[in-house]
Subunit: 206 residues, 2 copies
């Protein structure tokens, strides 16, 4: 499943190396209930500042009869471009950050950061179970806020498509091309610094 | 190593279940160079909005002679409470979020979120190698900005202590007590919602 160009000098864990964000979901294969629960359980165990656990999730499984309407509502929030392929994902999950600490109602500047950690735990758990995930930032926040009645201190961050990999023939030509490009990342020298900002930490170029 | 009270109905991947945030670092055991590189490599492969890769890291290994001063600078940014135990960590890493998109210089509202994903990848890679991590939000941001000459659009988020587990006798009595408490998390019903905010998704209480 992996198409990453990881550094051969630095091997990384399979689940981290194999995680990527495909668009070709199998529309006919539901996510088993226990597997969905495991993904959510993984999200719960992320670390957070002052143990606030600022992450919140809205979950909908279109294969569960009484969740179909909610799944459609999540799909409706997406941009048309995302909806084109995300309509095949059996499960949609919206990740939100609660931006004020529970203990004192002061702003939590780590709310989004910690929510990102929690979402990544969910994605890694999914990968470990043979599932795929694809996060989307392209959705209508106001529609989401209104629809689910979110308190104002909540920030919707990402809609996660969850399911099994399908045939890329479900994608149009443009998306299929994107889907089959190798994964790349910026060189370490532009991201990892030593004693001054932009001074590369690793001297040997990666 | 795990002390988590995870849900027996929802098994999660070992590296996710075993990751926690100890304070008892072994001050005499350095992190092997290849292992440090693997942790950083893992951080690179996180997903990000528009592939912006907004994460930046400042890395210092106190066992590397020419990095000792930088390691001390990272330590100096910490609150005294954090410094008390983090002084034993062989590697300190500051994670920062670059808050404007590279492609158009517009604000990136996912910068912190994506940086959180990247940091969590680093922590999971560390766990998979038998290392421990502990993130700290308690540090002097202005000192950090000034010291490393960060551009104003950069947000320092977390200082990560990285190393091997040591004897908890390096901790004072108060911290040792905290260290040995079981890990807990909030119930799913307060975090995972269905068709309305605060309506629990999983009906059976976890």
């Amino acid at each position: 499943m992996s198409r990453s160009q990881t550094n051969p000098k630095a091997e990384i864990d399979d689940h981290l190396a194999n995680r990527w964000s495909p668009r070709a979901f199998d529309p006919r294969r539901p996510v088993e209930r226990e597997r969905l629960l495991s993904c959510i359980e993984a999200a719960r165990w992320a670390p957070s500042c002052f143990g606030d656990e600022p992450w919140r999730f809205i979950v909908a499984d279109r294969y569960s009869e009484d969740e179909l309407d909610n799944w459609k509502n999540l799909l409706d929030c997406l941009t048309p471009k995302n909806r084109a392929w995300a309509q095949h994902a059996p499960v949609l999950i919206m990740a939100c950050a609660s931006t004020h600490f529970r203990q004192n109602d002061k702003p939590n500047r780590w709310a989004e950061f910690d929510t990102g950690q929690s979402v990544f735990a969910l994605c890694i758990q999914a990968t470990s179970l043979g599932l795929i995930t694809h996060q989307m930032g392209g959705f209508d926040e106001d529609m989401a806020r209104g629809h689910w009645g979110m308190p104002k201190e909540v920030e919707p961050m990402s809609i996660i498509a969850l399911g099994y990999m399908g045939d890329d023939l479900v994608l149009d030509d443009g998306l299929r091309e994107v889907e089959n490009k190798p994964r790349t990342r910026r060189p370490m020298s532009s991201l990892i610094f030593a004693d001054r900002w932009r001074t590369p930490y690793f001297r040997q170029e990666d």
